[in-house]
Amino acid sequence: MVSFNLNGKQVSVDAEIDTPLLWILRDHLNMNGTKFGCGAGLCGACTILLDDQATRSCVIPLAAIEGKSITTIEGLGDDHPVKQAWTELSVAQCGYCQPGQIMSTVSLLNQNSAPSDDEIKSALAGNICRCGTYQRIIAAVHKVAEGQLFYNADTVSPEQSMLKDGDL
C-alpha cells in the first residue's frame, strides 16, 4: 500500500510497486486526463506535477511517490487561468497532448511568472504535439502571464477532485 497526496486528497493504492504512476492514475484511480503517449518519458503526454515539478508519470513508479504530492489536470480548478487561456485561444486540435502541455505550463509559471518565448520553448520542449499547436501554446502561455491570472498549483479546489476523503 502506497500513500500519497493526489490533488489535495490523501490516497492509498494497493498495486505492484513498479507500476508507473500514469497507470495508477488511469487504471487504478480511473482518472483519464493524464495521457499515455510513449511510455518512455519522451513525449510529455503524461506530464503531472510531482511536488510542483513537471514530471513524466509514465516513468515514475508507484514506489517513488510514497508521501509525495501529485497534481494532475483534474486537480486544476475549473477557472484555472491556464485552462482558460487554452480554451479562449482554441489551442487544442486533437487535444490529446494538451493536458501534458498544460501541466508543463503550470510548472513553468510557478517558477517564472513572465517567461520569454525562449524560456517557454525550453520548458515545453519535452511535450510533443503532432497537430503542431506550438505557436498557439506560446501565445496562450503569454496570455496567462500577461493577464497575471496565474495562481499557485497548491490552490487545488478539493471539490474538483474526483476522489473523496477515505476513498480507496
Partner: protein, 726 residues
Amino acid sequence: MSFSRRKFLIGTGVVGGGLVIGFSLSNKPLIPGTRKNTFQPNAFLQITPENQVIFQLNRYEMGQGVFSSIPVLLGEELDYEPSGIISEFAGVHPDFAVGGMQLTGGSTSIYTAWKPIREAGATARAMLIKAGARQWRINEDDCTTANGQVKNNITGELLSYGKLSAAASKLSVPGNIKLKEPVDYQWVGKELPRHDAQIKADGTAVFGIDVQLPGLKTAVVVRPPQFGASVKSYDASRAKASNGVIRIFSIHSGIAVVAESYWQARKAAGLLSIEWQDGPLASVSTDSIVAEQKQALKHGEKNAFEEAGEIDSAWDQAAITIEAEYHSPYAHHSPMEPQNCTALIKNGRCEIWAPTQGPDMVRSIAAHFSDIEQENITVNTTFMGGGFGRRGYMDFAGEVAAIAKLMPGTPVKLIWTREDDMQHDFYRPSSYHGTKGALDADGNLLAWQHDIVTASIVKGFAPEIMSTVLPSWVPSETARGLGKTVGGWVAGSIPINREGMNIAYLTPNMRLNSIHHDPGIPIGFWRSVGHSHTAFVAESFVDELAHSAKADPVEFRLRHLKDKPRHTAVLKLATEKAGWNQSAEGVYQGVAVHESFRSYAAMVIEVSINGSQYTIERVVAAVDCGRAINPDIVRSQVESAIIYGLGPATKAAITIENGAVVQSNFHDLPVVRINECPNMEVYVVDSEEAPTGIGEIGLPPVAPALANALFSATGQRLRQMPLRLS
C-alpha cells in the same frame, strides 16, 4: 445524399451502452442516436421538446475541427446558436455515408457537408415555421426565426422550436428548400471558438483510450517485428504466472495478453518467449528498396498516364535541358494517441468503442473477426488523439474483435505501445523520381517529364492484390468500397500516390510516367497522400528550371501560371506578405505553390545557415480553400500541416532492415518540437467559392519551399528527404 421522411419513432429508445433497440418504419435500420419524442426530419437532426438540438455528426474529429465547423453549417440554416448544438459522433447507418462510406479523410468533410448539412437545417426550419403558422393560423410569410424560436410577426408572439417539435414532426418534409444568401450569414465565416476547446483543456474529452466499462480488462498484442513474419512457436508459462494475467492466446496478428490492467499485461508480454517464422520480406531493407527503385526508374515498365504535345521531338528544340532524380522515403504517422480499441461481445452482439476515421469499416472488420453479423454490431466513435490517415486503417478493430470473441461477456480494451504504433504503421510510401525539363530560347518551359517509381495505394484496395495496403484479412467488400470512395477523393487520378504530378505550369509538351514497384512494406494514406512527395519533386524541379533560365523563381512561376488565377492569387499573396527578395541579411527565401484537395496553397520559407545546420526562421503561407467556414480553424490547420510536414522534411525517415522498421519511439524517430517551431503566418484568401479541403493542403509546399530556400542559401540542391546540408 437525400433525406427520407422518418416517422415519429415511438417505441424506440436508447438503452444502456448505447445499443439502440426498437423498430423503424423504413426498411433501413434505425438511425443510431435516435431519442424518444423528438422532431427528426432527417438522420442528422433531432429537436427535443426542451428545445435541445441534437446533431449526429458523420465526420469524426481528429483535430481538424469538424466537431466545431460542421455544426455551424447546421445552426446557420436552422437559426440556432451553433455552440448550443449537442453534437454526437454518428453511428453506422446508410444515411450517414458519403460516397458509400463513412470515412473521414481526403480533406472532404467541409466540402461534402456544405450542401446537405445546410439543407438539413433549412428543412427543419421550414417545417417549424409551417408548424408555427398553423398554430397561429397565419401565413408562413408572417413568421420568422431566430435563436431557436419561431416568431409571429403580426402579434410578436414567440414559440421555441421545442414547443413546435411535436407538431412539426407530423408534417411532410418539403422539397426545394431555399438556403440563406451569404449576406445573411450569422456564423459561417466567423472566427468562432472551437466547441471542444474546453473539454480538451480540462482533460475530460473522451478519447478511445479513455473508454471505461465495468469489469474492463486490458489487452496487448506482441506482433512479429518483421512484416509478413508469423509466430512459429511460443512459450507463455512465465507470462501466465505474472500478476493479473487472465488469458494469453494466439490471434491472427500475434500473441495477445489480457490482464486486469495495462501494466500487468505489458509486463507479462515481456515475459513471453516467441520464435518467429521469417516471411517473404526477411531480406528487404531500405538500401535494397532504393536500389530497386533506381533500377526501376531506368529499366521499369513506364505507364504514361498523362501526355501533352510531342515531347519526344521537343527535347531537340530545347535551348536548355536538365535532368534530376529525387527520393522521398517512408514516413510514419505517429498520432499522439497510440492505436487502441475496446470491444464487448455478449449474447451474439458486439459493441465496439473506437477512435476511428471510419466506423463502418470498423464494423465490417469486427464482423469478420467476431463472426457476428454486421447488424448486430454497434460502433461508438470517440474523439481521436490524431489521425493523419492512420486511423483510416482498422487493424486495431480486427485485433480487439478477435480477442473479445474468445472472452465473451468480458469487455476488453486493446492498447498498442508507441513502439507498436511506430513499427506497425501504414507508411507514406517510399518513392523515387526522375525529372527532365526543357526551356526554349526565351527561357520558357518547353517540356516537362516526371517519372515516379512507387507502389500505388489504391491498387492495394483491389481484393486480389491488396496485400500492400490492407492485410489479407480485410473483407473484400470493405476493400472495394474504400477503393471506390478514395478514388473519388482525387477524381481521375487513380491509382493514388501519384496525384499532384500534373503541374499547373503552362508547358506545350508534357509526359507523366508511373513505374510500379512494390517492396511489400505496408503503405497508406499519409496527410496529403501523393501530394506530399509529388509536390516536393515538382516544386523543387520547377525551381531548378527557373534558376537554369536565370529567372526569379516567383517571376518564372507567375509567367507560367497566366491561365491559373487561383494559383496566381495565393502565390502573389504569400510572396507579398513575406516580402519576397526583401529578406534580412543572412536570411534566405524559398517558395512553392501547389493545388491539392480542390484548394490552393503557396508558401515562402525563410532559413538561416550555420555551417551544415539550418534554422527555419519564418513560414508565410497563403491558402484559398473557397469560403472559409471558420478562418481561425483554417489557419490552425495550415499551421498544423506546416509542423507535420517539417517532420519528414527535416528530421528523420522510417528505415527498414530485415523486413522490419528500425525506429521504435521518439528517441530514434524525432519529430518537430516546440523549440523548433518557426514563426508561422497564414493568410486566407477571401473567397465566395464553395468550401474545399483544408486539413492537408498546407503540407505539400513545405518540403519544396524549404529545399528551395536551402538552395538559395547554399547552392546545394537537396533532392532527398529529410533535407540535410553537407
